[in-house]
Amino acid sequence: MSLPPARYSFGGDEHIFVELNTEMSLEAFFKGMSITNAIAQRKIVGVTEICPANAAYQVRFDPDLIAPDKLLETLQSIESELGDSALDLNTRIIEIPVFYNDPWTNETLLRFRERHQEPTSTDLEYGARINGYASVDAFIAAHAASPWFVSMVGFVAGLPFMFQMVEREKQIQVPKYLRPRTDTPKLTIGHGGCFSCIYSVRGAGGYQMFGITPAPIFDPQQALPYLKDFMVFFRPGDIVKFKPMNRVEYDAALAQVQDGTFDLRIRPVKFALQDFLKNPTTYNHQLTETLYGN
């Protein structure tokens, strides 16, 4: 799939917003990754923030140091220089344990039923039905079966947006709540549009709620081993594999989080977009082997 030329627009006098495509695709995300990497490497004077997103990116700048038009031209020239060159990504694959259909998100969704499309069913029941799954269990199995790409980090500190690495017709899609909730348990696994997310902090949210992970992913205190380098765990380009866990396993993991011994399974991996697109099922199988092999 080839992408149309990017669309550039100023966000006031301090931002340039670049839409790589109006619809989501791995191609658009990879184009954004390669462009934002190139911008970072150039160390352009006046650029203060470089923010890749799912199918877009934005740059924040100081117009006293670089003229908006000059920066716009620079970004456009980077786009044309890179062309459609495929990017191989040296990244990591991470196992995230999830207690699906847990009591805390269930309690929360019941409190906000009047804001939901289908007040008589749970978020999981609704998601399973509109995506054509026979049962909640089959739906959960599909959510946990294939890896997900972290295609954006943000909304609030450290929250990953994740794109399911399967053919488009197999991707899980659900609408957001009709009106956002004012509360979401910390570390809820949410889903809206085609994206899953992990709510890094407790707070407002509009994504359907499927489960909860015991693994902190944002911690200013940096208490756990995998947060020692930085308080935010996820980076765009990370690959996530969910692993269902039960209540007993969840409670044990939570006890480890509390005594500071909890850790995540993380393995380095090289991701080649073209190879993946040729055969996602085979490629995902190899990724999973990398995660669980020695």
Binding site: G12, E19, G154, V201
Partner: protein, 325 residues
């Protein structure tokens, strides 16, 4: 040297010039919402311009000083009393050890700044002392002040500027009816022509949901997005986009109903179409808008945005020149 918090006020936080370089991970700019008033307080005292200060919101705190100190109050007009005696804003005032600073009812603006010679000395987190409440980081324990907190104050190094006042023409004014300049763009072209016009024609009012994250506006006509095929991954509402980054100052209109303008504690991205961005020169003005104030959005182009930016920068240069030494 420390400040004891006897009463916290409505939403009092430690803020400075803000935190740069982490927006791509969802950690926003933060910092004083009205940067001009914040900087004026520090410059009056002879502090570094970006020293951490307290941002007070509508209802001031009650504070006890453990040692002698010099303070300056700027921004919103929160009438201050020191041990029950009125003291002036925009003036360096001496506080004796054991004295209590309190505030009366807000007269205008929303956010007042209290700077102390030496600055509020909370730990620097990712390059800033600013509080980011959603992430529970920075500032004092990552949250609004509470009664019982004890705030450390740094050591003042420069000469005393006791009694120094800010000239009248350098004080900001906080009008009730404002024009807020907006550079249309981003997904503005998704609006129908009529809605693209009515957004700027209608008079809006600041809603009750107006905080450091964003300001919600009410009272204008609902905005319509032109029919278009829903892009894959965007969600089902006509105002939904594939989740993307939000510029600071950008205006989104979930469901077409109420425009929300993001300020310095912005959520860094999401799935609602943005229709334009408030220019940098008007961010301080928005910070001082009270609920129900009338707001007219005015479309400008980049040349006008940059001219306005140069003007507000000149004001800051004048401020620095006046308060030099």
């Amino acid at each position: 040297m420390a400040i004891k918090v006897l009463q916290a006020g409505l939403a009092t936080t430690v803020q400075d010039a803000g935190r740069t370089g982490y927006y791509h991970l969802g950690i926003p700019l933060s910092g004083a919402l009205d940067q001009y008033s914040f900087r004026a307080a520090n410059l009056l005292l002879g502090n570094p311009e970006d020293a951490a200060a307290l941002e007070m919101t509508m209802l001031g705190p009650k504070l006890e000083f453990t040692q002698d100190a010099l303070i300056a109050l700027t921004g919103a007009n929160l009438p201050a009393k020191l041990d029950g005696v009125d003291i002036a804003n925009y003036e360096v005032v001496a506080v004796k050890a054991g004295s209590v600073l309190s505030f009366g009812y807000l007269k205008d603006g929303v956010r007042g700044y209290l700077a102390v010679a030496g600055g509020i000395d909370v730990p620097v987190v990712l390059g800033s002392r600013s509080t980011y409440i959603l992430g529970a980081m920075g500032g004092f324990c990552g949250r609004k002040l509470q009664a019982g907190d004890v705030l450390p104050v740094g050591v003042a190094t420069g000469p005393s500027h006791l009694g120094r006042k800010l000239p009248e023409q350098l004080k900001p004014v906080f009008p009730k009816d404002v024009h807020v300049r907006v550079l249309p763009g981003l997904y503005f072209h998704w609006l129908t022509e009529a809605s693209g016009k009515s957004f700027f024609d209608d008079t809006w009012r600041v809603g009750p949901e107006a905080d450091r994250i964003g300001y919600r506006f009410k009272g204008g006509r609902a905005l319509e997005f032109a029919p278009r095929e829903r892009p894959f991954g965007a969600g089902s509402d006509p105002s939904n986009i594939v989740d993307a980054g939000y510029p600071v100052g950008s205006i989104q209109v979930p469901g077409g109903l109420e425009p929300i303008m993001l300020h310095r504690d912005a959520i860094s991205g999401g799935g609602y179409a943005m229709i334009g961005t408030v220019i940098s020169a008007d961010m301080d003005l928005v910070a001082q808008l009270q609920p129900n104030f009338r707001t007219q959005f005015v479309a400008v182009d980049m040349a006008q945005a940059l001219a306005a930016r140069a003007q507000s920068k000149q004001r800051l240069i004048d401020l620095r020149a006046t308060l030099k030494t």
